[in-house]
Symmetry: C2
Subunit: 405 residues, 2 copies
C-alpha cells in the first residue's frame, strides 16, 4: 500500500495547492470590497491598462439623470477610483456606511464590469450585481447569524386553473421537520420582472425569518414565495424554456398574462397545494399575504377576491393601478369586493411605501378611498422609493405582526 | 374609483416599460451567447473603446500553458472576437458545438469580464463563470425538460461528532411529498474547494435525476449533497462567517480539517439525520455513496470505515492519496478494512476516471491493489481530465445502476 501512495506526491501538490485557472486569468489576490472595522469600505480593481475606473452602487448618494423618453431618474452615484501600485485602482468611502445590504459594480473605460474579487452577486430581473453587507441595527436581520436555521425548498405545484405545473420557493422554520406541529403560512409575492427567486435572494427572507423567530419577535411560520407571472412555469433557467435572457418585457404584454387576473384567480391552487403538502393551520386566521409592487397589486386583488382566505394583508409599494383586463371578474366591482373584505374585519391590512416612490400618489389616493369608507389599516412610510432596501424593511416590520391574535 | 386610476398613467408606463438602470449602464440589447439552430454559437460583446476582445472557455480546444512553479497546464483555448457595427465584437464557432454544458468568459484588453448579456453563471470554488448549454445526446439530461420535477432543499443538520450544525442540500424525487412511500438514499460528495452547492449547480444533479427517473432509467431516490469541509458549517455566504472570499486554501490546512478523518467519522450524523427526517429505506441495500476527487477519497474511506452502511460505492476521479493524519483510525489498516468491506460483497464498487486526469496513475495503482486481492469493481474510463464534464457523465452512468437489486 505504501508504494501506492508514494508515486503521486506531485499530483497531490497540484491537487491541493494552486488554482491554475485563477493564476492564468488574472484573479490576483485583490481584496474587494474591503470592509474596515469602522464600516468604511475600500473597493479595489486591478486594471493596469485602464484609463478610468469607476464604481457605482447604492452605497453612494443618488444623482438625477435625464433619460431620453423616460424622464428624470434617481441613478446611483458614480465615483472614480485612483490607480495605485501594480495597476490596482482603489476607492475608500469617506464616511462609514450605514448598516445595509448594498449592491455595486465597476465601470472600466465605459465598460460595466463585475468585481472579480467578490463571488457574491444577485440577479435583479436581467441585471446581475455584486453585493456586500454592512451589519448592525436592522441589517443584522439580513445576516446569517448563529441561530437555528429554517429549510429553503424549491418545489413544483400543480395549477389546474393555469393548466401547468409551476415552481415556488418555500421557507419552513427551524424545527419544522421534527416538531410534528402545525404552522401558519405567509404568502410573499414579488414585483414585475421578478419570480420565485426574488424574495429569497434580494429580500433575504430566510435570514430575516430565522433571526426574527430566534429573537422571539415573529411566530414560527411557513413562508411561500410564488411566481406571479401567470404565463411562466418558473424563474428564468428553471423551466423547459432553458437559459433564456430575462427581461421586464417578459411580464409586460397581454400574451404574457400580465396583471390580467389569471394569477389572482389561480391562487387557490397554491393554497391547496401548500395545505396538502405541509403541516399548516389551514384557516383564515393563520394565513397572510403580502407583496411588493406588482405583488402588492396581486395581494390587494387576491385578498378581496378570496375574502375568507387571508386575515393579514400587506401592500408594499403596491402598484395601485389599472389592470390589463378590467372585465376580468377579479377586477370588477372593486369597491363592492372591498366592502365585503372589510366587513369581515381582517386582522391586519397594512400599507407601506417610500415617500419618493413613483407609486406614492396612487397609494395616497388608495388610502383616501379606504379612509372614506372607514376601513381600518396600518400605514408605514419610509424615505426613498421603489427599491429592495425598503422591501426588506417592510418585511422586517410586517412579519412580527402576523399570527399574534 | 375611476379618479384613483387616472392620475397614475405616467407612473404605470415607467413601472412597466423601461429598465432605467439598464438604459444607463450599457446592457444594450446584445444577444450572447447566440446559439444557432445548427449548434454553432456566436459570442458578442459591446466594447466600442476596446483594442482587443477575446473569449475563452471549455468549448474551445485546450492549449498547453506553462505556469511558473506549477508545470504544464491544459488551459482553455482563447480566440479573438472581431469588431463590428456599434462597437459590438463578435466570434462565431466555425463548427457546431457538441452537446454539453459549457463555461466561458471574455477578456477585454487584458481584463477578465463576464458576459453582461448572460445572467447564467456558476461559481466554481472562487471563480464565477458564465455558462450555456447545447442540448442533444447526454446533455439533454442536463436540461430542465418537461418532466415531473423533484424538490431541492437547503437545510441544516446537527453533527455531534463535529460539534456543529451544518448545511446540506437534499433532492427528493417528484411525488415524494404525497406518495407516502419510502425511498433509497444516494449520498453525493463534492471535491476540494467545493461545498454543498457544487453538485446541484455544476453537477446539474436535480436535472439529471429528474430526467433519468422520468425515463425509467433510475429508481426514484433521495440524493443528499453534504459539505465535506469538516471545519465549515456551510458554503461561503451561507454561514455566520458572512460573505467571505472562498479559496482553495480554505480547505487546505490541518486547522481546517482537510482530509484528516473528521468528516468521514462524522458521516454517521448525516445518515442519522436523513433517516430521521425523510421517509427512507434505512438499510445498507438502499444506501449509495459517491464523490468526485476529494469526495471520492471520502467515499472510499467512509464506505470501509462503516462497512455495513453502503451497498453502492462510486469513486469519480478519486483522490487516491495519503491523508493528512495517517494515525487517524479512519485511515489506519486500509487493507484490513478493505478486506472486511469486500468480504461483505458490496452490490457495486464503481471507479471512473478520465485518461488525462493527474490522478489517473494513482487510480491505476488502486485498481491493481483491488485486482490483486480479487475484489470486484466496475471500471469506467473517459477521455479528458479532472473536470465537471466528466463528473456529470459519471453521475449519469452511476445513478441508473443504483438500487436495482
Amino acid at each position: 500500500m505504501k508504494k501506492l501512495f508514494t508515486t503521486i506526491c506531485l499530483a497531490a501538490a497540484a491537487f491541493a495547492g494552486v488554482n491554475a485557472q485563477q493564476a492564468l486569468w488574472g484573479a490576483a489576490p485583490v481584496v474587494s470590497p474591503d470592509i474596515h472595522e469602522d464600516n468604511t469600505v475600500t473597493f479595489r480593481f486591478k486594471a493596469p491598462k485602464a484609463v478610468r475606473v469607476q464604481v457605482t452602487g447604492d452605497f453612494l448618494p443618488t444623482q438625477k439623470v435625464e433619460i431620453p423618453n423616460f424622464g428624470t431618474y434617481d441613478a446611483p452615484g458614480v465615483v472614480d477610483l485612483v490607480e495605485g501600485k501594480d495597476g490596482v485602482w482603489e476607492y475608500t468611502t469617506p464616511e462609514p456606511l450605514k448598516p445595509e445590504l448594498y449592491s455595486y459594480s465597476f465601470n472600466v473605460d465605459g465598460l460595466r464590469v463585475m468585481d472579480p474579487s467578490n463571488v457574491y452577486a444577485i440577479r435583479d430581473v436581467a441585471t446581475v450585481t455584486n453585493v456586500f453587507l454592512i451589519g448592525g441595527e436592522r441589517a443584522d436581520l439580513y445576516k446569517v447569524n448563529d441561530v437555528p436555521h429554517g429549510t429553503v425548498s424549491r418545489m413544483w405545484y400543480d395549477s389546474p386553473e393555469l393548466g401547468m405545473k409551476r415552481r415556488l420557493t418555500v421557507y419552513t422554520p427551524a424545527g419544522y421537520e421534527t416538531s410534528g406541529k402545525k404552522y401558519p403560512v405567509f404568502y410573499l409575492l414579488h414585483g414585475a420582472g421578478g419570480d420565485e427567486e426574488a424574495w429569497i435572494a434580494l429580500g433575504r427572507t430566510a435570514q430575516i425569518l430565522d433571526n426574527l423567530i430566534a429573537q422571539g419577535k415573529a411566530q414560527p411560520m411557513i413562508v411561500v414565495m410564488t411566481n406571479g407571472n401567470a404565463s411562466q412555469e418558473a424563474a428564468p433557467g428553471e423551466s423547459k424554456d432553458g437559459f433564456v435572457a430575462p427581461s421586464m418585457s417578459m411580464q409586460n404584454s397581454k400574451d404574457n398574462k400580465f396583471m390580467e387576473g389569471s394569477f389572482e384567480r389561480s391562487f387557490k391552487d397554491v393554497v391547496k397545494f401548500v395545505d396538502k403538502t405541509f403541516r399548516t393551520k389551514a384557516n383564515k386566521a393563520n394565513r397572510a399575504i403580502a407583496g411588493l409592487s406588482m405583488g402588492g397589486f396581486h395581494s390587494m386583488h387576491i385578498s378581496k377576491y378570496y375574502p375568507d382566505m387571508f386575515d393579514y394583508i400587506g401592500l408594499f409599494s403596491a402598484a395601485i393601478m389599472p389592470s390589463n383586463n378590467t372585465s376580468c371578474d377579479v377586477y370588477t366591482d372593486i369597491e363592492g369586493k372591498l366592502a365585503i373584505q372589510f366587513a369581515k374585519k381582517p386582522a391586519l391590512y397594512y400599507i407601506a411605501i417610500g415617500n419618493t416612490d413613483f407609486l406614492y400618489k396612487a397609494n395616497v389616493e388608495y388610502r383616501q378611498l379606504l379612509d372614506s369608507k372607514g376601513y381600518k389599516y396600518e400605514y408605514y412610510e419610509t424615505g426613498e422609493g421603489h427599491i429592495w432596501k425598503n422591501w426588506r424593511i417592510y418585511l422586517t416590520e410586517f412579519a412580527p405582526k402576523l399570527f399574534k391574535k
